[in-house]
């Protein structure tokens, strides 16, 4: 079953895309390091500032510090931003500006290998950044229990799902101006996904809308895991992210093929 599926979504040659991106990034070490420091800055600024201001709050009948409440939301946001920048910006650059993929497709690699490779790369990147984020959470005392380790696979799922949708969006971008459109979508998602405060603070109609946001679903899932508050809803949240990512990926694969091999 799996062996029959693999040639459809790409071959082992896809790993050369990961290798390529890794080498390109190695020469841009500043960008790599900023990826590590970003979560640390988030957590520190919240820990020092907002945490004092807001104090503790009650989540699911349990009192937690604001930093412990908000950290999973920040992790979800960081996964979304990382995936969006990496896929939309960089893939657009390779697709339309440097035409890297055109030269790659003249080698044994094909369009599916390229798409699979980019997703693989996004996954690897998300794995490293989410791990470093979780380590920071633990070190700064923002993780109430060791359940926080379960945040790692969930953060990965978030990263991959957003990478899939990012890849799909990237095929619709015609010029740099269109990136404003993406910001226009990304910003409200960021601001209205109950990442900073509990969803119960929203008016009821807005709360219902927020449920649709994949970022909210990810933040809520990560928060549940981090606080060790498990429920059946979490399966639904994860499922929502899986569907979100798969829709993105299938759109991306189709549009990639149409653009690269007209």
């Amino acid at each position: 079953m799996l062996t029959r599926l693999v040639p459809v979504i790409g071959s082992r040659r896809a790993r050369h895309i990961v290798e390529r991106n890794f080498e390109v990034y190695r020469s841009q070490w500043l960008m790599l390091i900023s990826g590590f420091f970003e979560p640390l800055f988030y957590l520190l600024s919240i820990g020092i500032g907002l945490n004092k201001l807001v104090g503790n709050l009650t989540v699911g009948g349990r009192v937690v510090s604001y930093a412990a409440f908000v950290a999973p939301g920040m992790l979800a946001t960081s996964m979304m931003n990382g995936a969006v920048i990496d896929t939309i910006m960089n893939v657009f650059f390779r697709l339309k500006i440097t035409h890297s993929y055109d030269s790659i497709l003249a080698t044994p690699l094909d369009v599916n290998d390229v798409a699979l490779g980019e997703i693989g790369w996004a996954t690897g990147r998300a794995a490293i950044y989410s791990a470093s984020f979780i380590v920071c959470m633990i070190l700064l005392g923002d993780a109430p229990s060791w359940w926080v380790l379960l945040c790692w696979p969930a953060a990965l799922l978030t990263g991959v799902a957003f990478a899939g949708v990012g890849l799909a969006s990237c095929t619709f971008v015609r010029s740099w101006q269109d990136f404003d459109m993406i910001t226009l979508v990304q910003l409200p998602i960021f601001l209205f996904s109950a990442t900073f405060f509990p969803i119960t603070l929203y008016p009821r109609w807005l709360g219902a809308l927020v449920q649709l946001s994949p970022l909210y679903q990810s933040a809520a899932l990560l928060r549940g895991l981090s606080l060790g508050q498990f429920s059946g809803v979490m399966v639904l949240r994860a499922g929502y992210l899986v569907v979100f990512g798969l829709v993105g990926l299938s759109v991306a694969a189709r549009r990639f093929a149409r653009i690269l091999t007209p």
Binding site: S11, S100, S103, P108
Partner: protein
Amino acid sequence: MSERGQGGAPVVVARGLTKRFGEFAAVRGIDVTVRPGESFGFLGPNGAGKTSTMRMVSAVSRPSAGELTIFGLDPRTHGPEIRARLGVVPQEDTLELELSVRWNLEIFGRYFDLPRALIRQRTQELLEFVQLADRADSRVDDLSGGMRRRLTIARALINQPEILILDEPTTGLDPQARHLVWDRLYRLKREGVTLIITTHYMDEAEQLCDRLVVMDHGTIVAEGTPRELIDAHSTREVVELRFDDDGDGDASGDGGRVARLGDLAERVEVLPDRVLLYVDDGDDVLSTVHREGIVPASALVRRSSLEDVFLRLTGRTLVE
């Protein structure tokens, strides 16, 4: 002759090969056979369908209709196997500008699954072959157009391809840079590499191609060696006359003159900036022109070229 000699089975066979983009047909049912070791050209003006053809022959773009085999394999089912044995120099350079010359070659070797030690060795050899060894660690950004073109050629050779496909290899290069590229292509040809070249320069086609097709509007209008094409479609020599008749407007303004010139030549072409007389003995005809009292601003006698063949077949010039 070696295995790669001209005698072997054809390496590319196209029958009724067609490429459509929506309603528009860029390539309209062409028949082409390329034999191993030969250097085969596609000559045609902008929009003739050369690049569209090259992309199908590179096993990248799918034919819309017709048959195509490369090394006897169907690109629809054996794309990766075919591409592993091809080298492609695209019309536009697609190098990674922010990375080094060496890196651009090495990563390409990885796409072909070559072992790293072999890649390092070939990279060094290829850098020397295209005279870029001293620029190995430069960013591609800092290279001149001619150097980038050579790097693109080196990159296409990393897998030691049996066929090298070059889409306008020297467009935009200065004469010196062109000759350097031509020289490297001769060497590859001597080593037995099959070359498939597109160009809209007739001199390039005459220099490089054993055999060529003339393409126009997605179809093949003639096929043969450069010599055969010239013999079949043009005269031995051409007299080019320029007139600067302000009063009459363009060169064709003086109707009587063109008619009189027509009597002297096998064929006359009136272009916006000059009149071409197709003749066997140019000097002889030119002196007759002078005797007839026709005084051109300048006159030139030259041998027929593929440009004349193209003009004859399509009624248009190659480079506008």
